[in-house]
Structures are given as structure tokens and as C-alpha cells.
Amino acid sequence: MKNTSNIILFILWSFLCLAFFSLDLILGSVHISLSEIREIFSGAAEDTGLWHIIYNFRLPKAITALLTGSALAVSGLYMQTLFQNPLAGPYVLGISSGASLGVALLLMGSAFLPVVLVSNAWAQVGAAILGSLLVLILVLGVSSRVNDTVSLLIVGMMFGSIAGSVVNVLQSVSNADSLKLFVMWSMGSLSSVTWQFLNVMAPIIIICLILSLFLPKKLNALLLGERYATGLGVSISGIKIIVIILCCLLAGTATAFTGPIAFIGMAVPHIVRGMFRTSDHRIVLPACIIVGASLLSLCDIISQMPWTDSVLPINSVSSLIGAPIILWVIFKNKHLHG
């Protein structure tokens, strides 16, 4: 923490994060007042209908929003540093599509797999992580040959659409039951995450985020380019492997339960660099965790369309917020290099 303005920003975002989390609990199609919330959490209103809504529905959803937001933001930051490309991110480079492919293979290949494996939360996460790892390694391989921003994005989109096509093929050849399972997942939102899933998702993401906090110094060295980083005593292959694994664990796990969420991973690091006015990972990385969590909570609040009966897909809300930020990045690219 270099100066007081950064500390103020951290405190401000922590408050925002807390505020959005609380609002996420309070707001929704069923109106619940603050006093009722207090009753529920003090244990006075146990086993009522409202208690069920809060405890089994809104609380896991709000926690999922925090975790997924942080996970996507940090994996986006990793990718931007790794590729030295300001427009990299899990969604844009097809990592999320890779995770979808993994889950699709699992759910629709269920004819060949034991049922226990298919409905298992761990299996779903594993499939998503392997899928995203596959795409990331492919994109990384190509990126060593094409070294400009735009080509890399096109390559990412291509891999993304290949993964998407494979998913379509799978859909048309799979049986009705497994198709239903997959369609349910692909429309999935933060609300589809139950406590059972959260028990798997939360430990993975939290451990990865904690491990991330040990990396800023080496990530900073990577900003100088690989040869300079080597000169500073950083083992490039070592840090790359760690970053790739963490990146896939974070993006894959987040996607495994919520479905693809666009642009959060790419946009949050830019918001953070713009606000904190630095590229130093010692500040940017923890800030990404807080800002990512806040922003996805906000998206979730908007997607619930409080005081109405309809619900928007979270993916659309995050695109509406994220895409303009990306456009702004492209226009103002000068100062926002990784």
C-alpha cells in the first residue's frame, strides 16, 4: 500500500462490497425488510418461509456472486499479465467456452458414465477445469507464434467457437435426459448454486485466491518481459505453470456452476488499474478480488430486477456493464497495458 489514497480506495471498495452483498440478500422478487433479515439471522424466525428464501436461496447466491466475481477478476488479471495483452480475459479467449465443453462432455456423455459421477459436484468442477485448461494451453501455444493483440483475440474466439460447435454437435446426438441436464446448466445462473455445490466451489476458489496473494512480486517481474524477468531470478516456466493452473482452477470452477459470465474477468483489472493508477500487482491483485466481488454482486442485484417479477440472465447484465468498459479500453489503450 503505497499511499493514503490507495488505502482510502481499499476501504471504500470494502464498504461497497459489503453494501452490495447486503442488498443482494434484501432485494429480490419477494420483499424482505431489514428487520425481518435481522430476525432471520438472530435465529428468531427459523424454519419460516422467509428463512428458507434467505438461507437456502439468497445467501448461497450472494456468496456465489462474491466468489465468482473475485475468481473471474483474478483469472482475467492473470491472463492479461501472462499474455502481455490488455484485452485478454477468460471469456474473450475462450477459456469459459472450454469449461462449457468440459461440462457438456460430462453431462451428455452420461450414457457412458456411471450416474454417480454425472451428478457429482466434484466431477462437474473437474470437467470444467480440464476443459478450460485444454483451451488455455492451446491459446498459449498459438500466442507464442502470433504476437499481436488482435490475432490472439481472433484465435481465442476461434477456439471458443470450436468448443461451442462441439457442444452443439453433442447436443444433437445426445439423448433427451442428458440434453435436459445440460440445457439447465447452460442457462444456469448464480441462483443455481446450492449449498452442496458451494461446499466444493468455496474451498477451491478461496484457496486459489489466498495462493494468489503470494504471487504479486513475480507477476510484476513478468511485466518487464520474459528476458528481464529471467534476469531478476524468476524462473519463467515455473511461474507460468503456477499462473496457468491457478487461472484455470479459478475460471473453471466459477464457470462450472454458474455458466459462462462475460467480460467481468477482462473489465475488472482495467477498472482497478484506472482507479488505483498503477499496474503494481501488490495493489492490483487484492483490489481485483474486492472489486470483482462487488461488481458481480451489483450485476446480480440488477439481474434480479428488484420490485418486478422478471429475472434477467446474469450474463446479459455483465455484458451490458463490461462491454462498454472494453470499448473504452480499446479507445484509450495507451495507458492500460498489462
Binding site: 510484476n220 517481474a221 528476458r227 531478476l232 524462473s235 498503477t278 503494481d280 501488490r282
Partner: protein, 334 residues
């Protein structure tokens, strides 16, 4: 007093795959000296530097730094012995100058990169040494090429290693910036007792500032003081061609112009004489003892041109040459 040997190589062979670029090199770098590595394009300067810093494996022989074999030194120990500045691969970064220089302390700080008071003063000194104190909070991408290069040199200084390698640090720079960097490196070598090796194409400048020269040419490497390499003719052999030659008396290059006209010059050997001679040579004149075309140079900036009975006085070389051409076609061309 013998200076300390920091790096030496024995029977070193360098190259790619199985293509040897140079063989059997025995080199030594001493503390406090600035060595310039020169040689024509493609002679293997970058390969040598990459091999010496360990970014590329040698094809044979060994490299020792402070009496330890280079390939036995761990990456983190090496980062306290060698630092480098590269031309290629310049990061297009939004980092600030002070943040980049701070990274030089990377090998000495804890996992979070916390800087001690000593680290901070080393960083400030490094930035001051390259005259960038007024720009320490500027973004790297907003700097000029010379300032970018100086930032990376400051990073290398902050790394506080006994050896600094620089691969063509002046190749994108204009002449004033080039001179600035060269002088800076030379004084740093003296002041900080570091061994500094840089590759460069700035031959004339190199001869003035280098403590020692490593000259690569067709698989061989000659080392020595700049003056010795001039006197024994090695420089002329390496860099001279049909079109230009190395002038041993001035330490610069002279073009070999085609000669088809003759003129004789009279006058004292002043700067007027020198520059008139240069202009005449460029225009294809050979200076001879007795030519019907004569120029008389007086030291006060006047030129008198004589041909048979014709005579004219000039105040610039441009007018002199113009009339010489005229007379040439009028009176001498048959």
C-alpha cells in the same frame, strides 16, 4: 595493482545448434572497466552476450563468474551477479519509472517485495545516476527512447551486480543521447567498480570511451586497447572496404570516392585546409602537387582559384566548387 577478474571464459565455443559462430574464446572481464563489443552485423555479438549471461548454452568450453561455473549458479544467485539491458523485447508497459527501477531490488527483497530503507536509497541513487529524478513518476510508455534506455540502465544499477551487460543500448538513439549513455556507462564503470560490457555499432565513439575493445569478425575475437587495435591495423582489416577506410590519424572513417579530376592546394594546414580537402575529395578531386587548377587558401576564410590566366576569389566552399565545375566544363573537358 591488478584489477579483479570478474568473468572469464576458457575454450568457449558459441553458436546455434551445430553452427559455430566463434570458437575457442578466452576472455576476461575486469572490475571497473568498460568493454565495447564491436563487429559487423551478423558477426555474433548478440550470441556472445546471450551466451555470457546464460540465456543460451555454449557449444563448448566454460564460463566462470567470480570463479564459479556459470551453469552451476542458481537463477537467483545469478541475478545478484549479472544484470542486463536488452534492445529487443522492450516492454510496452504502463509501469512508472520508479516502479521499473524498483524491480532491480527484486533479488534482495522478500516474497512480497517489501523495500527497506537501504533498498529505497539504492533506487533513488540509481535514478539519479541516469539523470531521471525529475521523471521518476512518469509512465514508461510516455518516455523518449533515450529515457527508456536510461530507465532500464537504472534498473540494472539498482540490481547492484558486479557485471552489467548491454546489448546495443544505443541502437535507437540519436547522437547526443548516444554520447550521453556512453559517457554515463564509462563513468559508472569507474565510480562503481563494475565491469560493463556493451555491444555497439558506434565505432568512432567507442574508440574514444572504451577501456577495452572486443572485436568480433568471421569467427575470431580480438581484444585489446582501442589504440593498439588501430595501430596494428586490425580495425582497418575488419571494417575497411573498397568504399571507405579507417583513418588511423583521426580515428574516423573516410569514404573512398572515385577520383577523376585533379587540383592542387596551397596554404597553411588550418581547419580551412582540412574541410576544403574533404569537400574536394567528395566531389571527385585528387589533391596533387602540380595541377593547372590551383586553390590558394588563406586562413581568414578566403579561397582564391587560379586556372591559367583566370582568377576568382570566394568566401564559401559552395561557390568555389560551383565555379570549379564551370571552369572544368569550359576549359578542361576536351
Amino acid at each position: 595493482m591488478e584489477a579483479e577478474v570478474i568473468l572469464n571464459t576458457r575454450k568457449l565455443d558459441i553458436g546455434y545448434d551445430k553452427t559455430y559462430i566463434a570458437k575457442n574464446l578466452a576472455l576476461s572481464l575486469y572490475a571497473g572497466e568498460m568493454v565495447c563489443l564491436i563487429g559487423p552485423n551478423g558477426s555474433g555479438k548478440s550470441t556472445l552476450i546471450r551466451t555470457l549471461v546464460g540465456l543460451q548454452d555454449p557449444l563448448g568450453g566454460k564460463i566462470e563468474i567470480k570463479n564459479k561455473k556459470l551453469n552451476k549458479i542458481s537463477l537467483s544467485d545469478k541475478s545478484k551477479l549479472i544484470s542486463w539491458v536488452l534492445t529487443d523485447n522492450m516492454p510496452t508497459s504502463s509501469l512508472r519509472v520508479c516502479e521499473i527501477v524498483e524491480m532491480g531490488r527484486f533479488p534482495y527483497t522478500n516474497w512480497f517485495g517489501k523495500l527497506s530503507k537501504k533498498d529505497k536509497s539504492i533506487i533513488d541513487n540509481a535514478i539519479e545516476a541516469v539523470h531521471l529524478t525529475h521523471k521518476k513518476d512518469y509512465r514508461y510508455s510516455s518516455l523518449s527512447d533515450g529515457e527508456k534506455q536510461r530507465t532500464m540502465i537504472a534498473k540494472a544499477l539498482a540490481q547492484d551486480t558486479p557485471i552489467i551487460f548491454l546489448d546495443e543500448p544505443t541502437s535507437h538513439l540519436d547522437l547526443p543521447n548516444t554520447i550521453d549513455i556512453m559517457q554515463l556507462l564509462q563513468s559508472l564503470a569507474k565510480k562503481t567498480k563494475k565491469a560493463i560490457l556493451l555491444s555497439t555499432h558506434e565505432l568512432e565513439l567507442t574508440l574514444q570511451v572504451a577501456d577495452k575493445i572486443w572485436m568480433m569478425t568471421s569467427g575470431k575475437l580480438k581484444t585489446g586497447l582501442p589504440e593498439d587495435l588501430i595501430l596494428n591495423g586490425d580495425l582497418q582489416k575488419t571494417f575497411g572496404t573498397e568504399r571507405f577506410r579507417f583513418d588511423e590519424s583521426t580515428g574516423g572513417f573516410r569514404m573512398n570516392y572515385p577520383v577523376y579530376k585533379e587540383v592542387s592546394i596551397h596554404g597553411d594546414k588550418s581547419i580551412y585546409y582540412y574541410w576544403t580537402e574533404r569537400a574536394l575529395q567528395r566531389n571527385g578531386y585528387k589533391i596533387v602537387e602540380n595541377s593547372p587548377l590551383r586553390i590558394n587558401i588563406s586562413g581568414d576564410g578566403k579561397w582564391n582559384l587560379y586556372l591559367n590566366t583566370h582568377h576568382h576569389e570566394f568566401y564559401t566552399i559552395e561557390n568555389l566548387l560551383f565555379t570549379m565545375n564551370e571552369w572544368e566544363s569550359k576549359f578542361l573537358s576536351e
